[in-house]
Symmetry: C2
Subunit: 242 residues, 2 copies
Amino acid sequence: MDTRAKIRLFVDAPLGADQSILMNRDQANYLFNVMRLSVGAWVSVFNGTDGEWQAEVVEATKRKGILVARTQSRPQMDPPDLWLLFAPIKKARTDFIVEKATEMGAARICPVNTDYTNSDRIRQDRLQAHAVEAAEQCGGTFVPPVDALAKLTTVLDNWPDDRRLLFCDEKKVGEIVANLADEQGDKWAILIGPEGGFSDAETTHLKSLDFVSSISLGPRILRADTAAVAALTVWQNALGDW
Amino acid sequence: MDTRAKIRLFVDAPLGADQSILMNRDQANYLFNVMRLSVGAWVSVFNGTDGEWQAEVVEATKRKGILVARTQSRPQMDPPDLWLLFAPIKKARTDFIVEKATEMGAARICPVNTDYTNSDRIRQDRLQAHAVEAAEQCGGTFVPPVDALAKLTTVLDNWPDDRRLLFCDEKKVGEIVANLADEQGDKWAILIGPEGGFSDAETTHLKSLDFVSSISLGPRILRADTAAVAALTVWQNALGDW
């Protein structure tokens, strides 16, 4: 029988047996007003590093509360070392990309500015909150960090030696998907373009880099959020934790 | 050089050389008011069966207009014979599933009622309009029909002899994804559950059917719209047109 509490909460606190966890105002409001939990109720909690714990409510008021972690219900499970680089698009779609990247097991989310990027600033805190919410919802114990917005060229110029980059090339539409299972290396990143794709200069530059492999995502042009899920699926299925 | 017009429009009319196409009021408003096209401009049009054509605007007023198809710019490309069965969820997510299924090349979209389905009616016309819009956007020449809502049990009881069903089983989370490339048959359907998954009775019934193969979509629980894209990717990559 699955005795894990249905409500899952990310907490910014160490977790271990008999560890007390102080709820902030938002969390107290959610648990005790919205979800109407009271003393003695159980909550699943995780902090991104110590696995998932079953915690008991020991104090509950409208504005604060204390949980105590009792038993670990899941070990910490970090995703494979896969980053998702994407060009921020319209707000709702950007939120979706962060949500989906978290569900799909990206280890780090990197918004990058490209030649055709529609917007040139992001709300990093808001996107990070979406990643937390998605981790709560999908049953994961890991929350991918959302980086600050950086220029694609800067990111490529400072690329780590030991990581490969999978470039989802719209112009390859109709070509066969590369056989990822033949690829080497356990550190990867996926790069998804904005609406309108990459500029010719970007495409030429990307193809000239020896850490880049390019793939097609089928014969139709996918929206950026669809492409993110599709590319993460292809990678997870061939090289990841599926 | 790509000389295809950027604006793509689905038209409910036969297409062939020198065929006139009467714009309805919405289309005329979009082309001539919103996009500010005038006589002599070009539009890419498709009707779901005759490929994509480059059509010239020959008459343009605020409320109506006439295009004439001149040359075929793409042959008709139907997707593989893959249906997507999904349980309608919250409105925005249901819209997303239809959009993504179209982009990902589903040939038919079948909303099904399950034991845990949140809503028991759909706006079929609205969902069909989303499929049309997604086809316009993704460069496809095919628009998947969106069926009326049916009960999953009814659909399974009347299942065609020659079609296999891929059951995305949340309870398999953590198990290895089946190797689809070993599966037989060219007619398939994918079944995605609602939030909360399938009931035990549904799972037992599905597993007892000889046309059903079940797969896991990785170790995290995916939202229904994420699961739809992921399952379509796995299938297209192994058996479809990627």
